[in-house]
Amino acid sequence: MTEPLLHLSGVHTHIGPYHILHGVDFAVPAGELTMLLGRNGAGKTTTLRTIMGLWQASSGRIRFDGSDITTRSTPDIARSGIAYVPEAMGIFTDLTVRENIVLAARSGPVDRNRLDWILGLFPALKRFWNLPAGNLSGGQKQMLAIARAIAEPRRLLLIDEPTKGLAPVMVRSMIEAFRALKASGETILLVEQNFYAASALGDHVVVMDDGRIVHSGAMSDLVADKTMQQRLLGLSLDAHQ
């Protein structure tokens, strides 16, 4: 078996005096889409931030692509091929849509075809190309955050709740986008509350609760098992769309 692209083992994270993550272990296999699910406050965002080095793991290991990134600095982690869409989107409100994307393309001008593809997914961005991003609507900001993460090909995408605030039609195109990205060989770790989107996309699923991993396995198993959904997520898939 080949080594997973990303591997967390026994990761603990403290924020100030609070102990948030209590030994998180899971793997993200290369080329596939892994969903990270869990209730509010379970520690999903903290996990992603710890991977990005925005919070330091107090113990445990994080391996990416064969090397240990636990103690690396955030820019180095990003340069090793990880893109991140934070929960709060991290839009630069002062900068225009274009400037936001320019910054995301670290290695020079964005490939013309890729840009057209992205703007095809999110036409609103094209429309407001020279508008300060702070003036975008909530959903448009979310689109921009995603667009930024995929402006250049990356090895791994960490995405925190991309569908919140998106109209159903946009959720659909987002799902299409992730499918396309996966097809082009990118690996995705996705945090999602929208179980419909999650079940439509995920190959693997990891469920967190209270800073620990409480389940991990194939998505299809979870989709099939209603009682497990009830136990892990507090609601069954049917009740929601």
């Binding site: 924020i15 100030g16 005096p17 609070y18």
Partner: protein
Amino acid sequence: MSSSSALPLAFDETRRRGGILTSLLSSDLPRSRALSVILFSIFALLAATPFLFSGSQPVGTAAKICVFIVLVASYDLLLGYSGIVSFAHTMFFGIGGYGIAIALERVSPTWGSVAIGSAAALGLSAVLAIAIGLLSLRVRAIFFSMITLAVATAAAVLASQLSEITGGEDGLSFQLPPALRPAFRVFSEPVFGTMINGRLLAYYLVFAVSLVVFLALLRIVNSPFGRVLQAIRENEFRAEALGYRVVAYRTAASVISALAATIAGALMALWLRYNGPDTTLSFSIMIDILLMVVIGGMGTMYGAVIGAALFVLAQSYLQVLMGAGSAALAGIPLLPNLIHPDRWLLWLGALFIISVYAFPGGIVGRLRQGKP
């Protein structure tokens, strides 16, 4: 909360109404044993300075501490509680000083003039604070700061230009009402080895007024009004949406703060029997105030007490201390030069830097840390 929080906020609904001390302190107790001890010592020392120490320097220093406690606390109301960075605070301090100085020098050295001078100064301060507030509290914070800086500069220029009234660069020396003059004796014999004279009365006047104003400010920041100010500082947009008229609240805060600063200025002038641009209007005093607020702990009120006491002491005795140190180290190369009294500014500058590092949440924040 997390240790990074630089602004320890005192929300603790378990605090009930309690004894007289609690109500005097507006139920905003020090909440740390060390802090309580320090505050009480400062209070006790200030209350007894004339009887504890001989000579004019300790009393002078104590009076200056009292005045600066009021001045710094009033600035903390603006900065720490309302998040307004104003550089015009010394202007109000100056107005208070000039109110007293002009009334006593140009009218007559009587209590009537003290009353007229203070009333006129308070009135002028209130009007100016409202004008500045309404005109400019709507603009962005940084611009507000720059506008106040400009206004303060203009005030200093005005004080210098109107030399007929203000004494210009030279300032005004004046006489106090007879009861406050050194020659005035309450008893012919010393009490506890200290002569009860007009100077002493003047000190206790400064002390008492400072105490009252400080307690009033403490009450205000712990009132529902004070809570709104903190909310506005945190998120002005949200406060407005909750139904609080941000500009009105901010203007009110500026006015209260300006009035307190004016009182401080009046006290300063009364104590010094002198007022001039360097004493109350200069930008370096503004910087001192900032430092005292930050060292003491922003948004805590008690920080003002500690910051003012510490800084005024340092300012008064740093040179003396350095003189002693440099004499003691005579013979060693270089070192005595560095702590030569004439280099005291160097160490003051270093003190600025070090204290901001050592007490990121102010001394009060540091003391309260272990004890939630």
